[in-house]
Symmetry: C2
Subunit: 171 residues, 2 copies
């Protein structure tokens, strides 16, 4: 098995957010994808260790902000390499509450989705949540950030809790 | 709801293949993604109407060929807009049988995966199959084709059975 094969898979980069009561949180995710068109559904894969996982499980809703290609690395670091258990990730961030109660992050975002969880599947360390879209909106026409661009052009790294984390092995 | 928001999501483009006994088939898919790293698992979303869906259900295995950016449109059309019920899609195509028995398409491919289905989830018109990787291989260093590149640069279109199909509406 060659773990470098995984680098060939293509993804976007997103903030997936949710809430538990009035507690709000969001995290970076690369696995957001449309599942069906009728009804429109999207799926997200979230690590069970993450606070956003807890909030989605509790509230049954999530939101997705599609990140623009020019998103600054510190912004990604804030949502991707810190836990909402230690800091309020949304402090000083432009967001609004969606109809589901989930926070919709507006900074560096070209499109938004809100979804209600209709199903989920447990996959070892992660849960894939399937959500039916309740709202979607285009915010601008900037190109979306891709995971490849993030890694190759921005030289971004990947936290251990990401689905796409590949431990570097000596060869 | 603005269906154009779905165009902002990022994907690669892949051939997902499987077999039923000695019958082989493959189809284009854009929803292939890593779910966990330990153990390495990937997921694919496949329309229930498709022959490859039947074969994955029957054999419990699937393979993924990651398409290169310079894949010719007719090659994509062959796997994406025709059914294996009507024609042998693999005739004249370079492939080999993997350890799972699934055909590994080698033309226009920069990486390969083979997986055994460990779980699945039904989502209306589609099934998401979760597979544990049994083999993976890098075949070359050409860039991967992205769904955005396919649509914007190659001017490729999307069949109605795709998860990402969006019916054009009059506005």
């Amino acid at each position: 098995m060659d773990s470098k094969a995984f680098y060939k898979l293509g993804y976007g980069l997103y903030i997936v957010s949710s809430h538990q009561g009035d507690k709000l949180n969001g995290q970076i995710a690369n696995t957001v994808f449309q599942v069906t068109s009728i009804p429109p559904t999207i799926a997200v894969s979230i690590n069970k260790q993450n606070l956003t996982w807890e909030y989605i499980k509790a509230s049954g809703v999530f939101a997705v902000s599609v990140l623009c290609q020019d998103t600054p690395l510190p912004f990604i670091g804030r949502f991707g390499f810190k836990s909402g258990r230690d800091a309020d990730k949304l402090a000083d961030i432009k967001y609004r509450l969606g109809t589901t109660g989930a926070p919709l992050v507006l900074d560096n975002t070209n499109a938004l989705f809100e979804a209600k969880v209709i199903n989920s599947i447990d996959v070892v360390t992660h849960t894939i949540y399937i959500g039916e879209i309740v709202e979607s909106e285009v915010l601008g026409d900037k190109p979306s950030l891709t995971y490849e661009y993030y890694q190759q052009v921005k030289r971004g790294t990947t936290p251990k809790t990401a689905p796409s984390y590949v431990a570097e092995k000596k060869e």
